[in-house]
């Protein structure tokens, strides 16, 4: 099987702490497999949802997220031909964003005992962003069959942090600073991430100056 999934996790933080969060999942390389699964009633004893059911759920999630404190301009784009799903929202602060995400996970998940939800994955101080990713991002992968987990080696996980100010330095040696100095990118695979969540941990220091 070719690359199965392409995920982009993209956050933009303005100098005042407000910003935009984007999360895109691209399954177009696996669309034959996704379509073949959608053609089934059930898989491994679990019901396979229909496209209208998925659409309904996405709309409901969008509604719920729109009502979270500090969240605005919530958008979801769903492409059921290529199976590309894009989520985007504006936030008042990274604290609001984290709280909205945590509340949402707790409300919608059957599992209410996420220890990881007590920790913060985003920490914004003036001129410094510390970020990691929560373990719930990869929790579902523990249920994957061996061959499906192996297929994640061909996938991509891209983590991008963007700023109004210029980036001074980063702590993660795998991170790339864009030539315009306003973005930091770490590329990995979902498989590598399952093995080591710390791959995306990073502290980014900004200069006092905005781009001229």
């Amino acid at each position: 099987m070719v690359s199965c999934v392409d995920i982009v996790d993209d956050i933009y933080i303005k100098s005042d702490g407000t910003g935009t969060f984007k999360y895109s999942v691209n399954l177009s390389a696996s669309k034959v497999k996704v379509n073949s699964i959608l053609a089934l009633d059930s898989l491994d004893g679990r019901k396979v949802p229909s496209i209208p059911e998925i659409k309904e759920k996405i709309n409901r999630y969008k509604e719920i997220f729109s009502q979270k404190e500090g969240m605005s301009n919530v958008k979801v784009e769903s492409d059921f031909t290529n199976f590309i799903f894009k989520f985007q929202c504006d936030f008042e602060s990274v604290i609001h964003l984290q709280k909205a995400l945590k509340d949402f996970v707790l409300e919608e998940s059957k599992n209410k005992n996420f220890k990881d939800l007590e920790t913060n994955w985003l920490d914004w101080e003036m001129n410094k962003l510390t970020r990691s990713i929560p373990s719930i991002t990869i929790d579902f992968t523990s249920k994957l069959k061996k061959e499906d987990a192996e297929a994640l080696k061909t996938g991509k996980y891209v983590c991008i942090s963007r700023f109004e100010k210029l980036v001074d330095k980063v702590e993660n040696s795998s991170a790339l600073i864009s030539p315009n100095k306003q973005a930091v990118m770490i590329k990995t695979t979902p498989y590598a991430l399952i093995q080591n969540l710390k791959l995306l941990e990073n502290t980014i220091y900004l200069t006092e100056n905005k781009k001229p």
Partner: protein, 626 residues
């Protein structure tokens, strides 16, 4: 701890895979209501697979351990008191009142056998001349050197009918006993009891209760569900008693009631099976409403299905497992089948089957003649019915028959067809990739070409009117750009899983061919020519009358990607992946009363014998299920 039913299933599994043999006594203990019987001829089989090699298998260790109460203690199936010179018969059946299931076997040592059935208590037999043991719903009956394990369950409809009669006669209202609904909602017995308590009323017990001989006082204080349990229990005893009287006092059993079954038991093969479809049809649960509302029509349909019996023999050969079965049917159904099969093999299909094809089938029917014959038999049958719904439908069928050009329909779709598996090939797909701006890391979507492995299939239909599908495709191409006329063939984009194109070739050699194999459409529009199927396989396909199928097991399993199967299926298939062989299905001419089918599974490559091959498979399945 493993429960009793599990232990008997294991016991049964043990004796099935050990394949026992043939004196006649165990054959005489099959109730006449059995509609499905699977018999294993142990004597014949044990000549081919030794008991010593069977008991070496991992699955047998647990079977034996369970049979001897947790510890095999060096005991094997050979110590279970079973007579390996008699046949093992497993049966199931149902009639309007009850379901009956169980198995019969020979006994060499009663003492040893009773150690296996140690939780059966000896009780007074309802009839003379047998020894009788009980364990909950299961009954062990011994006569001479043969044993019968029997279970009788009254039908849901019968239990409900009797319970409702008593319940309503006591002045109570109608109870909605929606079994399926309560199962779906996951109601437990407590919930049901609570609901029933609300509608329970005091009532007098009247004469209707005498039918089940329930204690009148007990009946008065029972809830509906308790009453139903009591009715079930009483009917269970009554039907069991009736079966025992019938079998052991009147000497009525399947063997002396059905000549075909009696004849089948004399076949010299390793196993046989018997399936009486006419009785299956008669007592099918879904037909209750039909039977009640349209009794005359039901009678006619029942007559149409009379004599519909399948009888089969299983042979274990040195290099093959062979199954030969005869499908018997009544006069009218025979007429329809004969007309359906009154066609010649369409040789042009061979042109579209590659000589190296790993799996294919051919199917030859004359749909037009079959339709006419079925119309002539079924419409008069339906016309006798006075029910407005049936009459309306008959009128619709007759009008459609008059107004539609049935010749054009059956010239377009004549009925004969073929299908092939063309292996796994890479197909081009389109996918979206995120491309990043080197300066800003902003990203956008870019369409690129991808490749995916896909199983390739081809199906083709004989047609005398290729112009009709051509017309449909032509109009479709005006409505959507996905239909493209490529000259020699049509291409329909994104037809499979919204991603893979399908190719249609209409009219070549009187066939309508549909495939996802681009190579066939582009390079072999008129067939594979000298590379097409010929020789022995082609002759077999031509010779086999209405159906032929061939599957090269090793090749197909090796070619189909593992991702197509679930992890569990793959573990079972792995037991077959290392082995080579092929399966062939052939049929003989359809006569007025039967059609013969043969299925042969030939083994090739490295194996000891067919029995070991079979046991390897059973063991793999068992180890996997552990």
């Amino acid at each position: 701890m493993i429960n009793n039913s599990h232990r008997y299933v294991l016991f049964l599994l043990g004796i099935v895979v050990s394949f026992f043999a043939s004196a006649q006594t165990s054959d005489d203990l099959i109730p006449k209501d059995a509609v499905t019987v699977f018999s294993v001829n142990n004597t014949s089989l044990l000549k081919k697979i030794s008991m010593d090699s069977i008991i070496q298998y991992e699955f047998m260790e647990e079977v034996q351990s369970e049979m001897f109460d947790g510890s095999a203690d060096n005991k094997t199936l050979k110590d279970a008191g079973v007579d390996f010179n008699q046949k093992l018969n497993v049966f199931y059946g149902r009639n309007g009142n009850y379901e009956v299931s169980g198995f019969t076997f020979g006994i060499s040592s009663l003492k040893d056998l009773l150690r296996v059935f140690d939780d059966f208590d000896k009780t007074k037999s309802p009839v003379d001349g047998i020894e009788y043991y009980n364990s909950y719903f299961n009954h062990l009956i011994l006569k001479g050197n043969a044993g019968l394990v029997l279970r009788v369950d009254p039908s849901y409809e019968k239990v409900k009918h009797v319970t409702d009669s008593i319940w309503r006669a006591r002045g109570n209202g109608y109870v909605i006993d929606d079994k399926a609904k309560s199962e779906e909602e996951g109601m437990d017995e407590g919930d049901e009891g609570d609901d029933i308590d609300k509608i329970l009323k005091d009532g007098e017990l009247d004469e209707d209760d005498s039918e089940t001989k329930l204690d009148p006082k007990a009946v008065q204080i029972k809830t509906y569900w308790e009453l139903k349990d009591s009715v079930t229990s009483v009917l269970q005893a009554r039907y069991l008693n009736a079966i025992l009287v019938e079998m052991f006092e009147k000497n009525i059993h399947l063997k002396n009631q059905d000549v075909r079954f009696n004849d089948m038991l004399t076949h010299t093969c390793e196993g046989t099976f018997y399936l009486d479809n006419s009785r299956n049809f008669q007592y099918a649960k879904g037909f209750w409403y039909f039977q009640t509302m349209f009794p005359e029509l039901f009678k006619d349909i029942k007559a149409l299905y009379s004599g519909n019996v399948v009888i089969g023999d299983i042979f274990l050969k040195e290099n093959a497992i062979s199954v030969k079965f005869e499908a018997h049917y009544g006069k009218d159904l025979g007429k329809i089948y004969q007309k359906l099969n009154s066609t010649k093999f369409d040789k042009s299909v061979l042109n579209y089957i590659h000589e190296d094809c790993a799996g294919f089938f051919t199917y030859n029917v004359n749909l037009k003649e079959g339709y006419k014959q079925a119309y002539d038999i079924i419409i008069p049958m339906l016309s006798k019915e006075r029910d407005p719904r049936v009459t309306t439908n008959v009128l619709k069928a007759e009008l459609l028959n008059e107004f539609l050009n049935t010749d054009a329909i059956f010239e377009t779709y004549q009925g004969s067809m073929f299908g092939t598996f063309n292996g796994i090939k890479k197909v081009k797909t389109k996918k979206i990739e995120f491309s990043y701006d080197e300066n800003t890391f902003e990203y956008k979507e870019k369409e690129i070409e991808g490749e995916e492995e896909m199983p390739m299939f081809t199906v083709g239909f004989s047609t005398g009117r290729a112009d009709i599908p051509e017309k449909i495709l032509s109009y479709m191409s005006k409505m959507t750009s996905r239909f493209k006329n490529m000259g020699k063939y049509w291409k329909i984009d994104d037809a499979v899983f919204n991603s893979i194109p399908v190719y249609v070739m209409a009219g070549n050699n009187g066939l309508l061919v549909i495939t996802n194999d681009e190579d066939l459409a582009i390079n072999h529009t008129n067939g594979y020519g000298i590379k097409s199927l010929s020789g022995k396989k082609a002759k077999s396909a031509k010779k086999s009358k209405f159906m032929y199928a061939y599957v090269n097991i090793g090749e197909v399993l090796n070619k189909i990607p593992k991702q197509v199967f679930t992890a569990k299926q793959n573990e079972i298939l792995d037991a077959m992946r290392g082995k080579e062989g092929f399966v062939e299905l052939t049929t003989e001419k359809t006569t007025a009363d039967h059609t013969n089918f043969d299925i042969n599974y030939f083994f090739q490559g490295n194996y000891k014998d067919s029995g070991i091959y079979l046991l390897d498979l059973i063991n793999s399945a068992y180890v996997l299920a552990k």
